[in-house]
C-alpha cells in the first residue's frame, strides 16, 4: 500500500511541475465549455432574408414586418423578380427568400387562403431547416392574430417550402464540403509539421544544416511530395462524394481543383510554421491536431453558422483559414458560382499562404539555437 501511495505522490509531483500538463487538464476543458456553450446553438439570429413581394399590400407589409422584427431575421434585400433569387443566394448573405404571390391580401380575404413561398438556401441544410421552421411558425402566428376577431379557422396561409441547391435537403451537402475542409487542413499541417520536427528529434537536421542546402530548399523540398499526394487525395474525395453521395460539382471543376490546391498549399505552409515553433514531434502533433481541429470544426462555419454566434466568435473565426475555404468550396460545389463571387476569400487564402511561407523561412533557424 505504501508503495502504491509513494508512486501516486510522485505522479502528482510530475503533473504539477509540468505546466503543459496543467494546461491540458484545466485549460482545454474551460476553452471547450466556452466554445460549446456559445458557438453551438440551434437558434438562429439575424439570418438574412430577402423579400420578393409581388403584392405590396397592407397584409404583406404587416407580415414582412413581423418576420423582420422577430429578432431571428434581418432583411438583406428587396427583390423585384424571380431572376434575382439565384443571384442573391450566390452572394451568400441571404439564407431564405420569401415570396408573396400577386394579390396576396385580396386573395386571403376573399378566398380565405393565399400563397407564400419560402425558398431556403439548401447548401446549409441545418440553417435552411431552422429558417423554414421559424418562418412557418411566425406565419401561423400571424394567421391566428389576423383570424382572431373572425372566429373560424377560415384563413390559411400555407407556406410552400422549397430548397434551392439541395432540393432533398440532404445533409451531406453540408458534411462533405465541411469534411473536405477539415481533413485537408489537418492532414497537410500535421504531415509537414511532423516531418520537420522528426529530423530535429533524430539529429539528422544538424547534418542537413551543415550541408549546402538552403532553408528555402529544405522547406519546399518537404512540401512538394505532400502537395502532389494531396492532389491525388482531393481527386479521390471528390470522386467518392460524387459516386457514393451523389454530390456532383455544380460549378467549374477546374476552379474547384485550383482552389483546393491553394488551400492545401496554405495548410502545408501552416504545418511548416508549426514545426518552427515545436521542439519535438509530440508538440507538433499536439498543436496541429488539437490546435487546429477544434476551432475548425466549431468555429469555421462547418456545422454551425457563424452568423448565429456572438460577435466575438466572428472575429476569432476570421483568422481561421477554413472559414474562407468552406465558403469557397460550398459556392463552387453546390451553388455553382464562379471566381467572381469568391475572389475575396481566395485572395485572403493567397495572402495567408504567403505570410506562412515567409514567416517559416524567416524563423527557420540556420543554426541550432
Amino acid at each position: 500500500m505504501k508503495r502504491f501511495l509513494g508512486f501516486v505522490k510522485k505522479e502528482f509531483l510530475h503533473i504539477f511541475r509540468d505546466y503543459r500538463t496543467l494546461f491540458i487538464l484545466f485549460g482545454i476543458p474551460v476553452a471547450q465549455i466556452l466554445i460549446f456553450g456559445f458557438a453551438v446553438s440551434n437558434d438562429i439570429r439575424n439570418a438574412g432574408v430577402a423579400i420578393l413581394d409581388l403584392s405590396h399590400d397592407e397584409i404583406t407589409l404587416k407580415l414582412t414586418d413581423k418576420i423582420i422584427s422577430s429578432g431571428f431575421f434581418k432583411k438583406t434585400e428587396t427583390l423585384l423578380n424571380y431572376k434575382d433569387i439565384d443571384r442573391v443566394f450566390k452572394k451568400g448573405k441571404t439564407k431564405a427568400v420569401i415570396i408573396f404571390e400577386n394579390d396576396f391580401g385580396k386573395k386571403l380575404i376573399s378566398e380565405g387562403k393565399a400563397s407564400l413561398s419560402i425558398i431556403a438556401d439548401g447548401s446549409e441544410p441545418n440553417t435552411a431547416t431552422l429558417v423554414t421552421n421559424y418562418t412557418t411558425a411566425i406565419v401561423n402566428d400571424f394567421t391566428t392574430e389576423l383570424a382572431g376577431p373572425v372566429l373560424n379557422n377560415s384563413i390559411r396561409i400555407s407556406p410552400d417550402v422549397k430548397m434551392f441547391y439541395n432540393p432533398n435537403l440532404k445533409s451531406h451537402f453540408m458534411f462533405v464540403p465541411g469534411v473536405v475542409t477539415l481533413i485537408l487542413i489537418l492532414i497537410s499541417a500535421l504531415m509537414t509539421s511532423v516531418t520537420i520536427t522528426r529530423e530535429k528529434e533524430f539529429g539528422t537536421m544538424e547534418v542537413l544544416l551543415v550541408s549546402p542546402l538552403r532553408p528555402i530548399q529544405i522547406i519546399l523540398g518537404k512540401v512538394m511530395p505532400y502537395f502532389i499526394l494531396s492532389f491525388i487525395n482531393v481527386l479521390l474525395i471528390l470522386a467518392l462524394s460524387w459516386l457514393v453521395f451523389d454530390l456532383p460539382v455544380k460549378g467549374s471543376l477546374i476552379l474547384l481543383l485550383a482552389e483546393c490546391m491553394l488551400y492545401i498549399l496554405m495548410s502545408l505552409s501552416l504545418g511548416i510554421l508549426i514545426s518552427t515553433v515545436s521542439a519535438n514531434m509530440q508538440q507538433a502533433i499536439f498543436i496541429s491536431l488539437i490546435g487546429l481541429m477544434l476551432p475548425t470544426v466549431l468555429l469555421s462555419g462547418f456545422i454551425f453558422p457563424i452568423e448565429n454566434m456572438p460577435k466575438i466568435y466572428d472575429y476569432v473565426s476570421s483568422i481561421l483559414p477554413p472559414r474562407y475555404f468552406i465558403v469557397i468550396i460550398k459556392n463552387i460545389m453546390i451553388k455553382g458560382t464562379g471566381l467572381m463571387y469568391i475572389w475575396k476569400e481566395t485572395l485572403i487564402l493567397i495572402i495567408m499562404t504567403l505570410v506562412f511561407i515567409g514567416l517559416s523561412v524567416r524563423k527557420f533557424k540556420i543554426r541550432l539555437e
Binding site: 533524430f202 539528422t204 543554426r367 541550432l368
Partner: protein, 332 residues
C-alpha cells in the same frame, strides 16, 4: 599576433593578417566562450589545428566537446572569441564553409528508414557530387557494409552505423572532417577498427578533428587537447602529455584490490592512489620509493603486494590536471 588579438581586433582583421602567410592552420580559435543560461559550456578556449592532422579532444560528458564542435561547424555562434576554419571566419562565411566540412554528430544522424545505399546517395547529391566520384575515398570503409547496402539504416548494428555515418560524412571529399564521439557506445573491436580507418585517411590530406571520452584513444591522434568543464587542461602530442606528468608513478598490485586501496589511502606517505585496471597507480609525497611502503602493506595484512615504477599514461596526466583544476585531492 597575440598583441593583435588582444587589441580586440574584430574577426575580419584577424583573418587578414593570417591570410598574409600561407594557410597552414585548418582551425584557429582564440578566446571562445559559450554560455547556455547560467551554465558555462566553454570558457576561453584557444587552440589551433594543423592541416592534415588528426586532432583529438579528450574529455568526459559535459566537458564542452559537442558545443565546441557545433561552433566549428557553424551551427552555433560563440558568445565571445574568434574562430577561423579553413581560412574563413566561422561566423560570417558559414555558407562557403559548410560545403567543405564533413560532420558526423553524436547519435550518427542517419535516416533510419532509408537503406544504406539511399543514405549515401542522398548525402552525395545534397553536396553536389555522386557516390562514384569520390568512391575511392570511402571504399575501405564502405566495403564492410556494402553487402548490406539494401538494408535499412535503422536495422544496422552500432559498428555498421558508425561506418555508414563516416562514409556519408566523407562522400563529398571535405577538407575538414569533424567527428563528435564516433566511438561512444561501440564495442572495443569496432572502436579499434574505426581508428584504423581514420589513420588510412591521412594520405588524402583531410584534417580530422575527433572527440572521445576514451583516454586510450588519445595515442591514435597526432595531437590532443584534454578538455574538462569547458576548459582546456592541456594541448600537445600524446607523448608530451604523458611526459608532462609531474611526479614519479608507481603501480601496486595485490589480489585483494579493495583492501589495497583502502590501506594505501590511509598511508600519509601516499599523495594519490587511483585504481587502474589490475593495479593501483600511486604517487608519493616524497617521490622516492623505498622499502617503507612495502613494509607498511605487510603490516596491514597485505603480503603479496608488487610495487613497481611505471611510465605515466595520458589518463594519469588527465587525472593530475583535473585535480589541480578542481583543487581536490583524493584522500577519502
Amino acid at each position: 599576433m597575440m598583441a593583435l588579438l588582444n587589441q580586440g581586433c574584430p574577426g575580419k582583421c584577424f583573418l587578414q593578417q593570417k591570410n598574409n602567410y600561407q594557410m597552414l592552420k585548418a582551425v584557429e580559435s582564440s578566446g571562445i566562450s559559450k554560455k547556455f543560461g547560467p551554465t558555462i559550456a566553454l570558457d576561453n578556449i584557444s587552440f589551433s589545428v594543423n592541416e592534415s592532422e588528426i586532432f583529438g579532444f579528450i574529455g568526459p560528458d559535459g566537458a564542452g566537446k559537442t558545443t565546441l564542435f557545433r561552433i566549428i561547424t557553424t551551427l552555433l555562434l560563440p558568445d565571445e572569441g574568434e574562430m577561423s576554419v579553413l581560412g574563413m571566419d566561422s561566423t560570417t562565411d558559414y555558407k562557403e564553409l559548410r560545403k567543405n566540412i564533413g560532420y558526423m554528430p553524436g547519435r550518427f544522424s542517419l535516416y533510419q528508414d532509408l537503406s544504406v545505399e539511399e543514405n549515401l546517395n542522398f548525402f552525395a547529391t545534397v553536396f553536389g557530387t555522386t557516390v562514384e566520384e569520390n568512391y575511392e575515398l570511402i571504399s575501405d570503409i564502405y566495403s564492410h557494409i556494402e553487402p548490406f547496402k539494401k538494408r535499412l539504416a535503422g536495422k544496422l548494428s552500432g559498428g555498421m552505423k558508425q561506418k555508414l555515418a563516416l562514409s556519408c560524412a566523407l562522400i563529398h571529399k571535405p577538407r575538414l572532417l569533424i567527428l563528435d564521439e564516433p566511438t561512444t557506445g561501440v564495442d572495443a573491436v569496432s572502436r579499434s577498427e574505426f581508428w584504423d580507418m581514420l589513420g588510412k585517411l591521412r594520405k588524402y590530406n583531410i584534417t580530422i578533428i575527433v572527440s572521445t571520452p576514451y583516454m586510450d584513444e588519445a595515442i591514435r591522434c597526432d595531437r590532443v587537447a584534454l578538455i574538462q568543464n569547458g576548459e582546456i587542461l592541456s594541448i600537445d602530442t600524446p607523448q608530451n602529455i604523458k611526459a608532462g606528468f609531474s611526479r614519479k608513478l608507481f603501480t601496486v598490485k595485490s589480489a585483494e584490490k579493495y583492501k589495497l586501496i583502502k590501506t594505501l589511502r590511509k598511508n600519509p606517505e601516499i599523495l594519490t592512489a587511483y585504481p587502474f585496471g589490475d593495479s593501483i597507480h600511486v604517487t608519493l609525497n616524497n617521490n622516492t620509493l623505498d622499502n617503507s611502503l612495502y613494509e607498511y602493506l605487510v603490516r596491514e595484512g597485505i603480503g603479496d603486494a608488487v610495487i613497481m615504477e611505471a611510465e605515466a599514461g595520458i589518463e594519469d596526466r588527465f587525472l593530475e590536471l583535473m585535480e589541480k583544476d578542481n583543487g581536490i585531492t583524493n584522500k577519502a
